[in-house]
Symmetry: C2
Subunit: 463 residues, 2 copies
């Protein structure tokens, strides 16, 4: 955990920003895997962890923004528990450790909430995303679980986003620790991908083992596929074959809960063929452009468009696109090749704070999300600020079903050479991703550099 002062300060700021009512922050509980007593490994709720620190099941934090009182609730362990669990601190000791003055049982929490609800005070909560917590909040606040999302607090969401968007120096240190583990995950992937015939799950499993041996889970289910054009896929069942690119999108959480999120795309066998090299270079050029543009007060939606334009120029040089690329970007033609956004916030969540709602995190009143295919998938569109940690992850995919659809609709045919694109239907996809910290007047790519150029990758794979 960070120091007591860190958590005290975070909650003090939250009180100031929310201004009135009570803030209810419900930590996570265990989730059953295949029966009640066999559980998935525990994952704490990020909001709870940010303000109350503990990576422990069954805790609830409450902040009275008017009186300034703070509470930590949970179930006390009794003597019998200690026989099975060994000695553990009491709830009041835990509260003290994070500078919280009051502690109590879940029954005490019910009493406190009843007093608030029945006296008409507002109780703020952020959107729950687990069925258990939906039920718990509904029960405790006397709401219908079906409509729990209707009563979430936009004030609380905005206050959390404001604070969590800007990473402190101590948070950056933790993110870079997670990136050090990601370095080992991806270089190991490169070594394993040099050998044809390995199964995707052998590589993905080994990478996840490296994450776990580093003290945290993967920050999301690893994408490791020779079919990178399948964007919503976590299948790892195939044997890797020469001629295919592997898209490896993987990161971990470090023991403090901070994430890394890296993508590398490498040729099975260790050598790019000419076609792979040319598409790879087009994506890499776009990816490398981004850090030259990142700085405070620039909208990430504009950097997205610049990166996509750069990719378009590369694809034009390959004969896949034609005409005025600026215009092609404007008309959404690049959505065929890159139907996703350039990046997102990262922190305690790999898509940071996504449980609050993407638009609260990535957009604001001045910057509204586009509805154009491709750009609509951009999670972060608003102006960058010092302390933001974001991902830079352009990609290029040849998705047979999407190519067929667009071609039959003659969509953007003044910009897309469908005859050439047809020849790439067996290509797969490429994505390249790094994590970037916005600094006072520019940015810094976080973590130890992971091989990224064609020659760096070929060298690493043939080690």
């Amino acid at each position: 955990m960070f120091s007591k002062e860190t958590y005290v300060q975070r909650r003090k700021q939250l009180m100031k920003d929310v201004k009135q009512g009570l803030v209810l922050i419900v930590g996570n509980s265990d989730v059953a895997f295949n029966y009640q007593a066999n559980q998935y490994s525990f994952r704490q709720d990020s909001t709870f962890r940010y303000f109350f620190g503990y990576d422990i099941q069954g805790l609830v934090g409450v902040i009275d923004t008017e009186s300034g009182e703070e509470y930590l609730f949970g179930e006390e362990v009794d003597m019998d528990d200690i026989i099975w669990t060994g000695p553990i601190p009491s709830l009041s000791e835990r509260a003290e450790e994070i500078g919280v003055a009051n502690s109590g049982t879940i029954k005490d929490l019910r009493n406190l909430m009843d007093k608030a609800v029945f006296s008409g005070r507002k109780v703020h909560y952020v959107p729950p995303y687990r069925a258990e917590n939906v039920e718990f909040i509904a029960d405790i606040l006397h709401l219908d679980p079906k409509y729990i999302q209707a009563y979430v607090s936009v004030e609380l969401i905005n206050a959390c986003v404001k604070q969590r968007s800007v990473k402190s120096a101590e948070e950056i240190i933790e993110i870079e620790k997670a990136l050090e583990t990601a370095y080992r995950m991806h270089t190991t992937m490169m070594h394993m991908a040099a050998k044809e015939g390995t199964f995707e799950y052998e590589i993905a499993g080994t990478m996840e083992g490296i994450a776990l041996a580093g003290g945290g889970p993967v920050s999301f289910p690893i994408i490791l596929t020779t079919h990178g054009e399948i964007l919503h896929g976590h299948d790892h069942s195939l044997q890797i074959k020469k001629g295919r690119m592997i898209v490896s999108d993987a990161g971990c959480e470090n023991p403090m809960g901070y994430c890394s999120d890296i993508t590398r795309s490498v040729p099975v066998g260790g050598k790019f063929d000419a076609r792979q090299r040319s598409v790879y270079q087009a994506v890499l050029d776009a990816q490398l452009l981004v850090p030259t543009l990142c700085k405070p007060n620039v909208k990430y939606s504009e950097i997205h468009l610049a990166a996509v334009e750069k990719l378009g120029e590369g694809l034009k040089a390959l004969g896949l696109m034609k005409g005025d690329i600026k215009q092609a970007v404007k008309e959404g033609a690049m959505g065929l090749f890159m139907p996703h956004g350039l990046g997102h916030m990262m922190g305690l969540d790999v898509h940071d704070m996504e449980n609050y709602g993407e638009n609260y995190v990535g957009y604001d009143k001045k910057n509204v999300r586009s509805d154009q295919f491709g750009l609509a998938s951009l999670r972060l569109g608003r102006e960058l600020q010092e302390g933001f940690v974001i991902t830079d992850e352009p990609g290029c995919y040849f998705i047979p079903a999407l190519i067929d659809k667009w071609k039959s609709e003659k969509r953007c045919e003044e910009f897309i050479n469908y005859n050439e694109v047809e020849k790439f239907k067996d290509f797969g996809g490429i994505r390249i991703e790094d994590d970037v910290l916005i600094t006072k007047d520019s940015c810094r790519i976080l973590g130890r550099p992971i091989p990224k150029t064609v020659s760096e990758i070929e060298d690493e794979m043939c080690k």
Copy 2:
């Protein structure tokens, strides 16, 4: 998946055993990790997988035991989905693949259930263990989710237990595959434990990586601890130090979903000291006795008592116990050292079918669970049958809080040398576990032998 015939036969047998009404078998869905779109790796419900085969989210199976009609329900994928997921089979193709004649959407399922419920037909379901499935079943059967456990079908539970308890030859093959991975997990643990200073999570994470690279998750959160006396602990935060035993209780699921569950206890550094060796040998003698007693028609509760008696004799030789050990066992004195049961069923779940309720699986009308401390924790008490796969896992622990409690109560003081036991409060614990198949007239320890004797372990660790 197994052949179509396997699933057809299993469902046919189920129809016969349940006799009347409809059987509703709800597969699992994804569970949110830290926000809706970021999910834990999918774990299918074992009952669904046993009867309907698929390891895929959001499916529901229905069997009309009277008409013989069978159904597979789910959401159809549309063209837009295929852009993101690649080509996938239709629901009716999936149904056909497992010999199910009918398929439909979740809306169709609702109509079918409404017809059944409103015409007074019984709809059988087994106890759900995930909040999402509690809600789903409650919604679809018009029940109050609070009382969903009250209406579970004992007929269906008994029919499932009857069939799933006896493993077929093809199931044993899968379990042995999971044991081959467990071999690699535990021998790797032994190599890593030879070096002092490693963190427990580094070893546990590496073991889990081996499971994942073998194509399946761990079958339960790995227990890997130098404090084996903490029975309910999944903490991996300590650095391993000479003088401590590591208890490593870990297994995996193979790609077909079948489990392994192995425990080895090894001395940090690779050499047992005299005290460790003597306690280890006492546990091993008990563990080795079990396969000599296992055969059809013997109650596992009796084998538990025989193993515990063997352990007691060993502890008497060490001066930790005294008096008539048979009598000590009868009076429950062994609960101080081994407060858990000798073993449990294993199959598609590591504690097989535990979601149905432990007593339905491990006990029956003739064999009722004991309430004596220690024996009460035995999950499997009834008569063994050919085809059962069970675990053989005695252990010996020195639990300071439990020793203090019993000593202060003067509990079983005619059998326990508390003065000697006091000296072992810094010892920790030892457990040794293998998976055993009951054969026609004896049993077979499954899988490749994993180093288990003192000299085998020392040899493996010093490799």
